[in-house]
Assembly symmetry: C2
Homo-oligomer: 334 residues x 2
């Protein structure tokens, strides 16, 4: 059975609590917008496309609450996390339906369906990159958990497997929150896709030895020139992949592309609490007197990207601006 | 009071148990060679120069045991870990004294004193690289704990501070075993040197933003052409430093240079157990069905190194072979 990160029945949003994986599969039931905002802020749900969908349903829950307004609801959800562009697209899509007097649940459902369809299209577009026997490195989790279904980075691998490719996946553990070791490994183990978890530090070692045929990652926001924000550490992998002549792919639905950012320089990077670095499983790992810095994302310049895998097909870095302008979905909603 | 990783009184080697830091300072007393071999294998003592000294004292303890022979003792210690060259130099230095009928304790003490003196000399040679106000990134622990006293990478920072430099140190946490977050942070916190622990993934982010003036690391083995092995992740930092025009320094005593390896390709890289990656503080972090790979070191080509900080001064990559040939210590003992 395929993984679904979240699902909705009128008045209730169900989420797999991603903080509990892989140890336990716990489903949270949310009925109020404040609970959805908390779930996004605490990474109960994470991954740019998935938090966009969760926020769309957060708007739908708000619309059921007497006295709630579209703008107030949007501002509550917009304040949760700053980097993923999809969050703002999800919120705005449903806000407009609500303002226009359309059926709000239906608008949120349609947004979710579009994200799922786009991820499946990413899978079909990217699968030919992974024919035959391939070793692929991925960073963080850009799978079904991050996107509702299919994934972004993992979608082409899933479709390639259906088409007979024999894949091995190097899974960066992805400190500080271990989305690779916990979530990507969980998705791959469930589908019995051969893989090995590695410390983030080991990716370069395997890239330099020729043990990696390609790198594929998701994105949190892609600027018009192709610069993109993604989980901290992505930039290092991209630089080292290029140094070793290994292709580096970025997979994302249209909601991740931000036509209002000319380059990556203006993408806001969230800095999270230093306890995520200084503690592990509730235990302090560094001295009491030490502090930490904890940027959740970094920005990788487009020159390190071989190609973007989009729902509309493979796009080269020089083609991003045009592809975004022609994308078959509403422009940036703000 | 300066940190000392280990000390010796005739018949007993005292070690700080580095697995317990920073939570507790536990001193182990070892009286037999087998205990020293175990301490090296389990990383109770780690860091190339420090395990060389521990092994030298392991030989001294063996020489006090009836029926023990120099060659058997050497082979026990040589089998503990494969990558650090200093280990073999420490063993061989004392083995020869033993075979020659010299005072074995004195030979081990002299070896330790030489390492400490060389680390201090590294500090004086490297300090001018860190004048004024500087932000410096380091990976793993190449401090006093790794070398008995002073450190290799940390020695120039300590001497620069004595000379009035205002330093800020970015400390890579260094997964999987967190020698940065646990040990380097502990040394810096003790001396109140301003620092921040970061996930290894975040180093590239700060390098790209211009927040790092220089990178300095230790080494486990340096080939004749300047290629060097060091803690896994060092290669990535070197590649990203070069991409951003940030100087990258390698600090090491003469025992780390291996004149018998023409390049880094033939340096043996230890692969350790996958539980170091799959578990944290005894708790499983990845799914039961997932496996891991765990190379403890990687090899960085000399072209990424700005300079080597040696006891004899600053050496450029093209000068390594000559510097090693002229080094004022015995040639590779094997």
């Amino acid at each position: 059975m395929p993984v679904r990160a979240l699902w909705y029945r009128p008045g209730t949003l169900f989420l797999i609590d991603q903080r509990e994986l892989p140890g336990r599969t716990v489903v949270r039931r949310l009925t109020r917008i404040g609970e959805v905002a908390d779930a996004i802020r605490t990474l109960t749900v994470r991954g740019a496309p998935a938090i966009g969908v969760a926020a769309a349903y957060g708007m739908a829950l708000a619309a059921r609450t007497r006295g709630e307004t579209p703008d107030r609801a949007a501002s509550v959800l917009r304040a949760t996390r700053p980097t993923a562009h999809d969050l703002f697209v999800g919120i705005e899509t449903v806000r407009r339906a609500w303002v226009d007097g359309a059926e709000v649940d239906a608008a949120a459902d349609a947004y979710k369906e579009r994200v799922v369809d786009e991820c499946h299209a990413i899978g079909r577009a990217g699968a030919p990159l992974f024919r035959g026997e391939k070793s692929v490195l991925t960073h963080c989790n850009a799978g079904a958990l991050a996107t509702v279904e299919w994934g972004t980075a993992l979608a082409p691998l899933r479709v390639a497997r259906q088409r007979g490719a024999r894949l091995f996946v190097w899974v960066d553990e992805t400190r500080p929150l271990l989305q690779g070791a916990r979530l990507t490994a969980w998705e791959l183990a469930r589908e019995r896709i051969p893989h090995a978890v590695i410390a983030d530090n080991a990716a370069g070692h395997y890239l330099a030895r020729g043990d990696v045929d390609a790198v594929i990652v998701g994105a949190d926001r892609i600027a018009r020139n192709g610069d993109f924000a993604n989980k901290i550490g992505t930039y290092e992998k991209a630089v080292v992949a290029k140094e070793n002549g290994v292709p580096f792919y970025v997979a994302a639905p249209w909601s991740t592309f931000d036509p209002r950012r000319p380059t990556g320089r203006s993408i806001p990077v969230e800095e999270r609490g230093d306890d995520e670095v200084l503690e592990l499983a509730g235990r302090r790992i560094a001295p009491r007197r030490s502090k930490a810095r904890n940027p959740a994302f970094d920005v990788t310049p487009a020159r390190f990207v071989t190609a973007y895998v989009t729902p509309g097909g493979i796009v080269r870095p020089t083609g991003v601006a045009e592809a975004v302008a022609r994308r078959p979905v509403p422009d940036d909603p703000r």
